[in-house]
Point group: D2
Chain length 337, copies 4
């Protein structure tokens, strides 16, 4: 941490800052400039910068060490590549996850699985426990849904990913799914993250609606810090003042994350836009921006879907899109499909 | 729901919208204007407006029934007043909750409880389980902390509130605290909300950092819908582009919420600003805007606090502030202290 | 406009709404549903929806006619294609504009023009009047700058675009430039827009930092309404809570605008990200999302630039990028270069 | 500026940063810590921090001198008090400005002036040139409006404030008004600000919808830097994701600005909320938070107003509010009315 003293701060002010820093177990390095004296605090454990800001004569306090370690490129420079059922995310690879928003019944999920396999998809998605804004909306089939998607996936040699909503559900998910998803609303459910850090399966961590990229990486750090190194970051739109789309997809998060972290980053253009006709252009844009994968909602009959049908692609739309995506990937030196 | 057809939409377009509405179990009421035909959908259960938006000829779809019911003034017009240990929130009453961010040890929490009681406070706050952005930061004393705050509170006849972070912790909290808090990050942890709906104690529901007021009320609806009618809403700042303060305290949420809902709304100016010298002006402003209570961080030695000391008031500052607040309340026809 | 009455609104309430609507010169169409009576207001000129909202018994007021006309696809369904110096924007075409942030001196702008021409660019950009946040920063060369860029452009058969900051400068710009730019800070400088509506040259209208897409289209409407039909919309990032990038580039604005309006939309990834290493991925993403053009900052010596060197590409980087962009365009059925 | 080098940056990296800093006319002060080497750049004029960020081995670059000088408390510690027609803003004083959104005709503005004078107001507001989002909306009476408000004000001994929209209008405004207003959309119209810096009358500078407090102070610096020291800052809401109100009034800007600057800050709760029934609570809150004045829309017949009637108070509402505000001011050691 660096403490910048105000122009004209007294020697007494400076000494009190030094004393405070030392009282917290840090070393203090003083550097006197023409305008400002700057005091570096080095080596301690945890100090709230605002405590320093409130001392007399302090102009500003600046954090210089990011709080995340294991997720950063400084800790590990090579890209982490995560492989599930032959599909790879990270490095030169762009993976694909597709399927319906929700598991509705046996016929629907079987038909979706059949269509996905036919399209060349290797990982199917589908919600069993649904986080719904309204207590009166359909909340998912629960364990029954997990069984149905597992059976459907097995029939067509697909891997499965689904969203886990709380600690109690983890054992169930380990029985049925190959990748566990943490939803945007749970990005900072730290107890859940800690439990997932002990799990032996990859985790997709969605970015919270108002989370900064730094907070998102810190949330990933929770999972890595417990021993699980297989985290896939998933951007799905942030909340802004714009109302034309459900959220604002922050595609620049792709190059930002790839510079800071070795973890793969994928995009969910379905939740990120909320509208079927925006999914294709945003998927194309994501690949062109260098993402490591996509998660797209596809439904056998979107007009009958119990949830989010409006943002689900028709199977034919998905096939057409997937074909185009495979043409864009090589232009940015990526391998897809 | 109202479906506004485009100028020039064909009869066929209109008929397909009507058919779709009926297929979802709604009645369709058609009203033909000079420019636009408008079709009302009445009586069904759940329909995603975006499904209608994607039909040909549809210009716009408008929701006209709010999804929340029990929290609304339409369901219950009189203010809900919640009383704990003689302190009232709602109606004409402005309640006060104060105490340290975190329970650190026996001496600290005893001293804080003594100071709060001496200041006339009847409900003490203090965190036992801390949601920390970094996995490497102090995570709270856990159950031990709850015991310590309970003992300290009993000694000085105080009620206790503390944040519960997940379902597993609820039984523990019921043993030790009088009001359970749900933090901003958990505002949409729907499973937690459902469990709290069965609890027989009041719940403080903090607004999420990027939650709209409607989503916040929907989250409260989860708690009420299970039978717990004692919810206190707590505004604690939303995330915006402004960086001078930690968050932007949305004080206009006070009159907005009070118009829509009968539930009491309180303000947390400590987290809402993140800076000690902003707490007093924002507390004053909150009372003047008509809030039903405040939750303020006070620490016996803020400069030694393990967490958020920079936003905690000194006991003398709190006493001075509390005296001023009591002068403002009557100007807005409220009773405080 | 549609006025939705509250459940239980009285006949008297309804009548007063009807009377108010008629007093403003509108017709009132009443439609009674089971839950809500809805009153349509048709045919008048201007009515503030909030006036209706404040009447007793009114639940909600909904605008159903967008305020923009000439910019909308309803008014003109075919894409507007704007051609300058053989470079086309809109329809199947993706145009390119490139050049330095600022005109610094004769040598610099000549060298930039030479490099741009060599790269196949047909329109050069360069600022003569610079809107600077600080009054103490370099404010541009003014008219001298316009002369220099015109001469340089003529030497290499380039067209010129530069930002006009106020009405007084328009005659000067008409002498020297081929496309006039309106900066983000001036998007709602309505007097300037009105004057530009009388101009016989294309106008690039940048989106304001906090402008919704609807407001942006309304600003374009100002220019079209005076007779100038050649407006190119330019997205350059909106302001959000994210701090890792200068702004958040809203690429989903591309499909949103293309659905609502016939006007071409281009992207400025240089200002949209503020960082050189983010310009290439965001340019690629923009083309893949279907934009009609790009405006990119390139400088012969970015490390010596007087302004925004950090977001300017080196000439070699630009060439490499341009080559890749030309490979992506055909995948989305667009023609570039 | 402080350049923090990455852990493990080479001597060559460090030397190149030093060379770059010196090439820009700054001195370089090196301070080597255990983890990071920090290089201070002192004494130069203008350097873009991003240029440094792009050098190899650089972790972060931190600005430590704010770009504003004349507006800061460092330059002038005592509060600036601005007096117009006996009404004072700043220091211990809370001033009041009230009147209609727009000057509509002679009768309306005369009646408004009479009512304002009767209520004890000394400065009337009223728009002559209206910045309207739609080119088809009422654009104000122009010069005729200025004459009408001047005459009305003179009759009742009121001072006048109105919004100037561009440089050409300044001479006209100097003839008719006592305080010139710069609207939110023009906060960064730097040419206008420069001209207003030469004017011999106070200027109210509204905060832009997406302006940070630092940018707002920089805009004020433009006015002060040309010689006009009478600037009143006016907060009127910022744009956020919340849709229940037109804007989010950032009342914490009051203590933030008062700490950084000596200039008075007033609040416009009418535009800040957009709804009549939110104006009173937000006005009360503003005074309690320590603001130096208010600007409130009042109309003799709000239901007939040509513009923004929905956010205008009825005269009786204003009187009742003003009486309450005068009771709150002394609690925060302020003098009002």
């Amino acid at each position: 941490m660096l403490v910048v003293m105000r122009h004209g701060a007294s020697e007494d002010n400076i000494q009190k800052v030094i004393d405070f820093i030392k009282s917290k177990g840090y070393d203090a390095h003083v550097s006197r400039g023409d305008l400002h004296t700057v005091i570096g605090a080095v080596g301690g454990k945890v100090m709230d910068p605002r405590d320093l800001e409130l001392l007399d004569g302090v102009k500003e306090v600046i954090k210089i060490t990011s709080s995340y370690k294991l997720v950063s490129r400084i800790f590990k420079n090579e890209d982490t590549i995560i492989e599930v059922n032959g599909e790879k995310f990270g490095g030169d690879y762009v993976g694909m996850i597709a399927g319906p928003c929700t598991i509705e019944n046996e016929d629907q999920i079987n038909e979706c699985a059949r269509l996905m396999a036919q399209s060349g998809v290797k990982i199917i998605r589908g919600g069993a426990f649904k986080p719904r804004t309204s207590p009166y909306a359909f909340q998912g089939l629960g364990e029954e849904g997990l069984k149905l998607i597992r059976n459907a996936a097995d029939k067509y040699n697909l891997a499965v990913t689904s969203e886990v909503m709380e600690i109690n559900q983890i054992p169930l998910f380990l029985d049925y799914v190959d990748i566990l998803q943490v939803g945007a609303r749970n990005m900072q459910n730290f107890n859940l993250l800690k439990e997932l850090s002990k799990v032996n399966k990859p985790v997709i961590l969605k970015r919270g609606l108002s989370a900064t990229i730094e907070e998102w990486l810190m949330a990933a750090e929770y999972i890595l810090s417990g021993g699980n190194r297989e985290v896939i970051l998933c951007e799905r739109g942030i909340r802004t003042f714009e109302v034309a789309t459900r959220n604002t997809l922050d595609l620049c998060a792709i190059p930002v994350v790839k510079k800071l972290s070795h973890l793969p980053i994928i995009i969910d253009p379905s939740h990120g836009t909320g509208l079927r006709d925006k999914v294709a252009p945003m998927s194309m844009a994501s690949i062109a921006a260098g993402c490591d994968g996509l998660m797209i909602e596809v439904h056998n009959k979107p007009e009958c879907a119990l949830c989010d049908g409006a943002q689900s692609l028709y199977p034919e739309q998905f096939d057409e899109l997937y074909a185009k995506l495979k043409k864009i990937a090589p232009v940015v030196d990526k391998i897809m499909g």
